[in-house]
Assembly symmetry: C2
């Protein structure tokens, strides 16, 4: 999965692409449990160091995408692979009254994962340059400033030991139409449907453009954006799980050393 650099035209990117994956759907599905076991092991190393106070490292998976792009499915099937003790999920909704009293990054900072943890953001600071831009919720010059503020904020997180995996779950307008239609055909999915979804869908080109700008302005060396083709759910899950695994293994952590005298403790335990 290559990080995005420079200008990007989402309309030229097929949503059913499967970069990096060799094989068929059934292979990806079959692989996922094995990836999950390896992820749990790598995560335990991170978590152990967090508990022991021997690392500043933390990982944040940031999920953005149009409605039905699979943010919830990624949480269920990918975040669900790791030990929930070491996981901190935050779903950002429309800002509350209290949140609106602060700058847009205030609520984001409060939810950053601590050392040793894997955080997942279901939507994020990017909403403020996406819906914020499309719906003109704030003046244009304020939107402009936010890209730089986001970059500076992400730089700070990375300088403090964080790794940010920014995943844009890329679907086509046809993918969305099919998925919304499915929700309307299945009474076990009504709860996922909001009438407002169609109002947003009506602004599809504007949102794609807002994403293109955000991806261009905020795909940095310290916190690159990844365009994850999400037309095939099995690929999306495989790709994000694989990225997370590679990220964890890339931290190069080792088990924390004992901060006590092991032999002395053994002797004491033997007498009890």
């Amino acid at each position: 999965m290559l990080a995005t650099t420079g200008p990007i035209d989402l309309s030229t990117r097929p949503s059913d692409d499967t970069p990096g994956f060799e094989g068929a759907k059934k292979d990806a599905r079959r692989l996922l449990p094995g990836i999950g076991d390896a992820l749990m092991d790598s995560q335990e190393l991170l978590f152990a160091n967090g508990r022991a106070g021997t690392t500043e490292r933390k990982v944040l998976i940031l999920l953005q995408g149009m409605d039905t792009s699979g943010k919830g499915g990624t949480l269920r099937h990918v975040a669900g692979l790791v030990d929930p003790q070491g996981l901190k999920i935050t779903a950002f909704k429309a800002p509350t009254e209290e949140e609106r009293q602060h700058d847009f990054l205030w609520r984001i900072r409060r939810q950053l994962p601590e050392s040793g943890m894997i955080g997942v953001f279901d939507r994020s600071q990017y909403e403020d340059v996406l819906i914020g831009r499309v719906r003109q919720l704030v003046p244009a010059d304020e939107i402009e400033r936010r890209y730089d503020e986001i970059n500076a904020f992400e730089r700070e997180f990375v300088d403090g030991g964080g790794v940010m995996l920014k995943c844009f779950l890329h679907i086509s307008a046809d993918d969305q139409k099919e998925r919304l239609a499915e929700r309307l055909e299945d009474q076990t999915k009504y709860w996922k449907y909001n009438t407002g979804d169609l109002d947003e869908r009506a602004l599809w080109p504007q949102y794609q453009q807002a994403y293109e700008i955000a991806l261009e302005r905020c795909s940095t060396e310290h916190a690159p954006w990844y365009v994850v083709p999400a037309g095939r759910k099995w690929y999306r899950n495989w790709a994000i799980a694989t990225m997370l695994g590679e990220t964890l293994d890339g931290l190069g952590l080792d088990w924390p050393a004992a901060d006590f005298d092991v032999e002395e403790q053994k002797r004491r335990l033997a007498t009890m």
Copy 2:
């Protein structure tokens, strides 16, 4: 798994018992993924109703037990079976300065799961009548009052739509000795070891007595205590996963109805 009623003598309860389970270790391990799939489905129903605002129901799994009894393992292997979006885990440590400025239930209330959620407490309000009693952190009459306060608090939670699964993970002093020794033999487990664990172990009989009192005083009809034999990890996982599944299915929830005109939405979507 039978709820505890009346006085209880933990020393007569084998920790390697497997009540309710027919079969061998390999069967329980083999069953767990299947239980997990069913759990995810039942949980989605609860979560969907929470999102739709059509239920007040919520479930709290409360885990208590001596060091090494498997609270962390239960989180990893049982809580890890469900969708992390619908899960809220809280590990209670020694109270912070701020928490000590409030009554002992203040920090507990703040972490209760919302409607539609499954909460898990790794330690809980019971610490305040366990270590609180054994270490005489507060006067005896204050400890006495706390049992009633806990019962009233739990009644309130249940009246508000909650179900509380209070699980005492029961191990023997020999089980603990073996598990602590394992941690001291394995450098990948040093991080789980604290020298203070042996100071607590030295008070084993006092802790067992404190548990017996708490279980007797606070196993109520609305929030019973379950003694889960936890000498065999596979049984502990199977038993708690099974209890959780039965609890979710017992809520008798149905999929939330559409709060919009389905046919009208289909027509609008078709034009887009």
